[in-house]
Symmetry: C2
Subunit: 263 residues, 2 copies
């Protein structure tokens, strides 16, 4: 099977024009098949404020009301996605911007209301991800650039977390490719010692993970990321990497600077 990189960048890169350009310069140089999934960033909030749309959170999670789904459709699906596409095209990277509604690549269900009504938030229907269409694009040298939006197949766009989209795409495409799923975040990787930024663990397998759990030295907040990484691997993804956006190119090689997860 051929190799495929599914790479996710978040708001910390998107909100900084210089950091974003530098990331895209790097992304464009990665040879072979690749997909970029981007998050939102603070610009949606600032444009929303100007439009009188105040962000509404419950337990740290943003509620997506009717005004907010229109806002993020504009900002994520329009402004950010198309700016990234135009910038990549300028670098000779044959980018095509997509939401989950486009070519029906990511169908989702509006999250059922339990204790909390999250509004227009989509939970991906993983078995229906349009992997044939994405493969068609990849086979024809196109580079999908995916905004964090899905749809319910009944005409409603939905807000979906970019990490989740990246993971769903990686899992769906692992049937056809050796996938390395790369999450760019604000750290170099998982640290052996939380107080030493140079103590990045370059490889974590199930055995190492058990040791780390037993040692209780992991930073707060990293455990869910590790669990998500092994969940993707359990669903067919070959490798998951978490690392710094600045180390992207190195992190697509065998000698990574970040933390690589493997079975």
């Amino acid at each position: 099977m051929g190799k495929l990189f599914v790479i996710k960048i978040g708001g910390n890169v998107i909100d900084n024009d210089a950091a974003l350009q530098s990331f895209l310069d790097d992304f464009a140089t990665i040879p072979g098949k690749k997909i970029l999934v981007h998050g939102g960033g603070k610009i949606a909030t600032s444009i929303g404020k100007q439009l009188g749309i105040e962000p509404d959170y419950i337990n740290g999670r943003r509620i997506t009301d009717a005004a907010t789904i229109d806002l993020v459709t504009m900002v994520y699906g329009g402004l950010l996605n198309k700016k990234i596409v135009a910038a990549l095209q300028a670098l000779g990277c044959h980018a095509i911007g997509l939401t989950g509604a486009d070519a029906n690549i990511i169908p989702a269900n509006k999250r059922p209301v339990k204790e909390t009504d999250f509004g227009f938030v989509g939970d991906i229907r993983n078995e229906e991800v349009g992997k044939n269409t994405i493969e068609l694009f990849l086979t024809n040298q196109l580079v999908p650039v995916v905004a964090p939006l899905t749809h319910d197949g009944k005409g409603q766009l939905l807000n979906t977390n970019a990490d989740t989209i990246a993971s769903s795409l990686a899992v769906a495409l692992s049937a056809s490719y050796d996938v390395r799923l790369i999450y760019c975040f604000e750290k170099k990787g998982v640290l052996e010692n939380v107080e030493d930024d140079s103590s990045v663990i370059n490889l974590i397998d199930q055995e190492k993970y058990k040791q780390l759990l037993a040692g209780q030295k992991l930073a707060d907040g990293i455990l869910p990321k590790i669990d998500n990484a092994f969940a993707a691997i359990g669903n067919g993804v070959n490798e998951v990497l978490i690392g710094d956006a600045k180390d992207l190119v190195q992190n697509t090689t065998e000698t990574v600077k970040g933390t690589l997860f493997r079975e």
Copy 2:
């Protein structure tokens, strides 16, 4: 050669939710290969006002400054394009939303400054329209939904008139398809008698056009549309039709309600 419909709708349909839904219901039923090109509508102006972006016109033509290109990228490329795509997907029409930057389908040059600086407005590089990519989509049962945005290939998105985009796509694809280019506007078609809405001329060829010009009975404002129609035909498009959005389905058949232009 197979048949292809390139269909353009403008603001008068887009600004009216019921009219848009009715149009999309009809569009979805058209069999075979088709492309939808949509204009902007008034929503960009109203959102722009809320964001403190006042529209600026010179000789009736809107100037696209830096704030405005961001605005239309959000509204045309994001909000409108994705709402149309999601609505079409709900109707079983396999829509994919695109700007001219996506997959580099419509490269353009920023309009040179002469008497007027139109700002970030793009004049299409017709010989570089990505017809192979669009054919790839059409061959794979995808339905391109194109927003009125192009790009300069150097990272800058540009504002481009939807009529012009529709015409450029129709001309580029006429090498591979028998194209009928359909402009939906607010009239039934070209009227023999401007005071009689039932006097639609169903077929105008070069001979009929000469008669109409000699008779001087044509409505003001229709001449540029007719000239554009014959310009597209001169560049390889088989047929151009202008008619009412409400008559779309009939206007894709041989017995049209609007005005069909043929060599």
